[in-house]
Every structure is written in C-alpha cells, then in structure tokens.
C-alpha cells in the first residue's frame, strides 16, 4: 500500500510540476475570460464610423431610408446613375444606393461601394426598404377593404408569449423556474468537458506506460513492486492531476462569476435576483436594462448553487468512473505495444465509442428522454458523457443509480482484466501483438 502511495506521488508530481501543465491550467481560463470579454466588448461597442450614402431613388417610394446618427443618406435628384456612380464614389460618398423604378415588382436594388459594405449597414438598408414596400402593399389592400383603423387593430393582434419553463420536484412538490436553453448548455458543456478530460488524461496514462516500457525501467520497478501496484499507482496519480486541474478551473470560474457580477450588476445580489418576480420594478430600482436583467434572472434561477454543486458532484463521479474505465484499457493497450504508433489498431475502436458517446450526448441535449439517450446513459462506456448531458434536465433517481452501479462494476472488472494483460505485456518486447495474443495473456 505504501509503495502505491510512493508511485502515486511520483506520477502526480512529475506531471503537476511540468511547465506545460502549469501553463495549460492557468492560461486556458485566462484565455477564455479574455475571449468572452472581447466578445462582450464587441457586442457593446457600437460601430461609430460616420458613413455618407448617396441615394438615387427612381422608384415611387417616398423616403425609403432614414438617416441615423452614423449613417447619413443624401437623396440626389436628376442624376444619371450610370454616368455618375464613379464620380459619386470618388467624392465623399461611402456608397451609392440605387433604387430602380421596378423595385416593387422585382424586389431588387443595388448598393455600390469601393469597399465591402459591413453586414450591419447592408441589413439596415434592406430592412428599411423592405418595411416601406411592405407598408405600401399593405395600405393598398387596406384601402380597398375600407375598414377604418384596420391597420391599428391588426397591429394590436401581435402577441408574444413569454413561456416560462418550470421543473416540478415531485418529492417536495415545489416548482422551480428553469430555462431549458441554459440547461442544454450546461449539460453539453459538462458532457464535452468530461469527454476532453477522459481523452486527455487517458492518453497520458498510455504515454506513461509506453515511456516506462520503452525506457526499459519497468523491469527495475516491478522487481520492487507488483505490476498491478505500478499500473494502479500511475492511473490514480494521473487522475489526481486531472482533478487538480478541474479544481483550479472551478475556482477560476467562481472568481470570474463574482467579478463579472460585480462589474455588470453592482447593485443586485444573486439571492434578490432569484426571488424577485417583478423584473420591471427591479430594473428601475437598480437602474439596469430590463432585457439584461431578464437573462441574468433566468441564469440565476436555473443555476442555483444547490443545483450546481449537485452537478459538480455528478461530474466528479462520472469523470472518475469514466476515466478509470478508459484509463485501465489504455494502460493495457500501452503495455502490449512497443511504441505509440502501434496503438492504432486497439485505440480506434475505443475512440469510435467515445466519439459516438459524444454525438449521442448532443442528440440527448435535444431529446433527453429518448430510448437512445436512456440506454447510452446506462451503458458504462458512454454513460459518463451522456448522463452528464441528461442530468440537468432531471433524470429519475433509479436511472442514475443503475448507471452508477453498472459503471462501478464495469470499472472493477476492466481493471482486473487490464491488470492481467498489463502484467504480461510490459515484459514483452518486439512482438507484434494481436487481439488473439491479448486473449491468451488473459489466461496466463
């Protein structure tokens, strides 16, 4: 037992002290934070460049476009468009908008410029002109029918229902407001991170085993410890590296959350946000935009601390379970080969299973109750990924228990099998290993 601890310590320290680990662990959250800060900045930051657009209007539409603060439209009369368009662009005009006579019939207009027009400008013009034409057509029909104020009455029929999704907790009988979009995102992020973690750290297990074998240090070590101790020590040591990284990232995200909240909503604490039902009033008292407040509110209601910490515990369990399952297989495969290039024939099936699990996870995000999602979240090879996607939507307790028990049982069985292959494999050199050969080793 003591010797396993020594091995775990070495496996952990050699990796956790590596520069690449420290950089990855610290740089990834910082990069993420910077990336989102940049995105938010881009969204908040308006396009402030003033653009003059010349409009040559040959159609019957009056004032098809209206100037805004930054885009100024100048209507030019009696200009021969074909002759003048180059001249106009040479002058102060950023672009020339040409609305032909038959625009209403053909739905086509032209915007000329020397540089590519930004999407926003193009969309704004197209929207404005379309709206004008729509109104013209509508008014023509309305005047034919002759009901007074029909347009106002029609406008009043416009409805948009705010559909709140509430999850009913059968045991306590309380309903909880939650957003299915946010749940989908949480589930998918969880499933994807678990996929990445398993892949990343299982690859490290594989490399570690191959390193020991190709360095020929393995025989020295197993004259001091049992091969099983070496294998399990390595697997646990690397798992601890992964968990350390996970923990650091959680702390980072927590800090980001608090800092973000302080910057974006300095006057409101999460608890009031969660309990307030009258958003309009809260918006007034805190001096915030009501739309932003709505998003923040649904975020905080869906992701309450109890739910998040529960989810983190599930994540931990399924990460450890899934990692142990694949790591033991990776270790067995690595022990059987002489170099990493030879692992392909054994790795491919495992990779296919993992990628399939990820895709089933994506499908489960759309329909968490489907038979495929159910089975994939109970079968151990895919359950760590798929179950994590499903859990935010609410999974019956018995399903989670079945999934966990079958995962634990499979992990134990696979570690036992892998240990048998590993024991033989690490001392075999220069032998092309086949599945048949592995089967034989199991019975040595």
């Amino acid at each position: 037992m003591n010797k396993i601890l020594i091995i775990i310590k070495r496996e952990f320290l050699t990796r956790a002290r590596k520069k690449s680990f420290i950089i990855l662990t610290l740089a990834v959250p910082i990069l993420f934070a910077l990336f989102y800060a940049f995105l938010i900045f881009m969204m908040v930051h308006d396009d402030k460049e003033v653009r003059n657009v010349a409009v040559i209007n040959e159609s019957t539409i009056e004032q098809p476009v209206t100037s805004t603060e930054y885009t100024k439209y100048k209507y030019l009369k009696d200009v021969n468009f074909e002759k003048e368009k180059n001249n106009l662009l040479e002058k102060d005009y950023y672009a020339v908008l040409y609305l032909p006579k038959d625009i209403i019939e053909k739905n086509e207009a032209e915007l000329f410029s020397k540089m590519q027009v930004p999407m926003e400008v193009k969309n704004r013009i197209s929207k404005q002109v379309s709206f004008k034409i729509e109104n013209l057509k509508k008014n023509a029909i309305l005047s034919k029918i002759g009901i007074p104020d029909l347009d106002k009455q029609l406008a009043a029929t416009k409805t948009r229902i705010e559909l709140k999704t509430l999850k009913l907790d059968v045991e306590s009988g309380t309903a909880k407001e939650s957003s299915s979009e946010i749940l989908s995102i949480l589930g998918m992020v969880g499933g994807f991170i678990i996929y990445m973690f398993i892949l990343m750290y299982c690859t490290q297990v594989m490399r570690g085993v191959i390193e020991e074998k190709s360095n020929r240090i393995v025989e020295v070590i197993i004259s001091s410890v049992k091969p099983f101790q070496l294998m399990i020590g390595k697997i646990i040591g690397i798992a601890l590296v992964g968990l350390t990284q996970f923990l650091i990232w959680i702390v980072f995200i927590g800090i980001l959350f608090i800092v973000g909240q302080l910057i974006l909503m300095p006057n409101i604490d999460m608890e009031t946000l969660r309990q307030t039902t009258d958003m309009a009033q809260l918006a007034q008292t805190s001096g915030m935009d009501i739309e932003q407040l709505n998003i923040a509110s649904s975020l905080s209601k869906t992701l309450d601390p109890g739910m998040l910490s529960n989810y983190a515990l599930y994540f931990l369990f399924f990460f450890i379970g899934g990692y142990l399952l694949y790591a033991s297989l990776f270790a067995a495969i690595a022990s059987a080969v002489d170099s990493e290039t030879e692992t392909n024939q054994f790795m491919t099936p495992l990779m296919i299973i993992m990628v399939a699990a990820l895709y089933i996870g994506i499908a489960a995000m759309k329909n968490p109750e489907s038979a495929l999602a159910f089975w994939a979240s109970v079968i151990p090879f895919s359950s760590p990924i798929v179950m994590l996607v499903r859990i935010p939507f609410g999974v019956p307790t018995w399903e989670i228990i079945v999934s966990m028990v079958s995962l634990i049982a499979t992990v134990i069985a696979l570690i036992a099998l892998s240990a048998k292959i590993y024991r033989v494999g690490i001392l075999m050199y220069g032998k092309k290993v086949t599945y048949k050969e592995l089967w034989k080793w199991l019975r040595y």
Binding site: T14, E219, V225, P227
Partner: protein, 306 residues
Amino acid sequence: MTFFEAINIDKNYANHKALDKVSISIPKGSVYGLLGPNGAGKTSLIRIINQITAPDSGEIIFDGQPLKPSDVNRIGYLPEERGLYKKMKVGDQAVYLATLKGLSKTEAKKRLKHWFDKFEISTWWDKKVEELSKGMAQKIQFIITILHEPELLIFDEPFSGFDPINANLLKNEILNLKDNGTTIIFSTHNMSSVEEICTDIALINNSKKIVEGTVEEIRMKHSTNKFEICYEGNTDCLEELSKQFNISNQHSNNNQHFFDIIKSNEIETNQLISKIIENNKLVSFREIIPTMNDIFIQLVDNNNKK
C-alpha cells in the same frame, strides 16, 4: 551454508517450456554464475527469483524460509534490459527507486550521497538522465541496485555497455560486496568474467540445468590430462614418449623441444616428469586446463546432441 535454493522449478509459456524441473542451490557469500546460451531460461529463472513472475510449480527457499512478497526488499536486481526515466533528474529518480525498495527518503539520500562521492559523480545529481551517456546511466543503475544493501544481488549481463575502465570499477565493487557477505547471482555469457569473479556456476541449456558446482570442481571434472612441456636435450625422450602417448604441437628450437602431451591415467604426473628429467633438463611443465569458455561450448554441444 545454502542461502538460496530453487527446487524443481517448472515454468511454461503458451507454446514453450521455459524451465524444466530446474533446481539450483546457492551458497551464502558466493558469486554464483548463471550461465547458458540465449533463450536457455536464465531470465525466466531470474524473474521468478524476483517474484516478477510465478513458477508453475516448484519451491523457492530464501534464507531458510519459503520466498515471500516482502523479500523483494532484500533482493537487488539489475536486469539486462535496463533504463531510467529520461526526463527525471538523476537524484530524484535514485531516491524514488530506493524508496520503492523500502528505504526512507532521508536514508536513501544519505546513502546516495556516499556512493555519488565514491564514484565522483556528485555533480550529476540535478542532471536529467537524457543528458547522461549510456555508461554514466549504467553507473547510476548499479548504485540504485545495491543502495538498499540487499542480501541477494542479481546481475543480468552487468558489463554490457561499460567501457573497460568502468567495467573494472564495477567488478571491484562486486567483489567488495561479496567480501562483505552479499550473495550474488551473476548471469552472463561473458566467460572471462566468470573465471575472474564466480565461485560457483550453474549451466542452463534448453530449459534444463545441465551442470552445477564450484568453478574448481567443474574445471577439474573437465580437465583433459593435457600438458604443455618443454625440455632441453636430445629427441630420444620425445620419441619414446610418442610411442606411449598422444603428442601434438611438436616443434624444436636448437636443442629445446616443445610439445603437448595427453597423459593417460596409468601414469602419475610425477612419473612423467621423472621420465623426462632422467637425461634432460626440464624447462617448463604446465597442465593445460580448459577455460570456462571451452567447457561451456563443449557442454552445450554435448547437451544439444542428445
């Protein structure tokens, strides 16, 4: 006194027999040469002694008790295929491997310092193994093998990869350890090193032990009764001897005559000498004792013919 004993060890792999009822008995404080051609089963036997693999049947007695898992801490093993973690620092690595043999960290550091000073390699402590040459790495491995002061040391081809100077250093260390009472198993096919340091040997061929005993016994057993003689005088004596015995390699230089003779058991060595010195002056008389190399080849050949 027997320190280590293996009795009727059988080991089978999927399609071949690695060891067939092999028994060896190693006296305490001996340097026991485990000899045999490649693939004879030496490494299989060594791995069983190290408890890396288990025998299919047979018994192993270590210091009077059946071999048990905790005995790995009393055994030191330098395998033929040996290496170190390339990216790990020499000192850290040596401490790690020593703690796996049951030493405490402080004790391991203390002893390592002693050995590093002795071998004048203290400056290597913080170097990574990949910065060392093969011979340097071998030295580290040797130190790691003996650091926990094992009672039984197993060296599998220890001299491969060493230059003559370092090989000599290593040989002296092995002899030192022997003088301090360590029992040493020495697996090799380098026969000259066997003659220099082994006290006992066993020869394994085709999964079977074919010979075991002290080096002296085995050489005596295989002595060919052949002598190399030179005397000064006339050729009469030589002619007379050639009637009675098988003489070869004969040549003369003025009145000195050189020849090899195979003596039959009917005549004692002394009688042979007195025959020569009757009328001549004896210059040299030497028994030609077969080298371990000759014995090895002869035994393996004979065994394979059977």
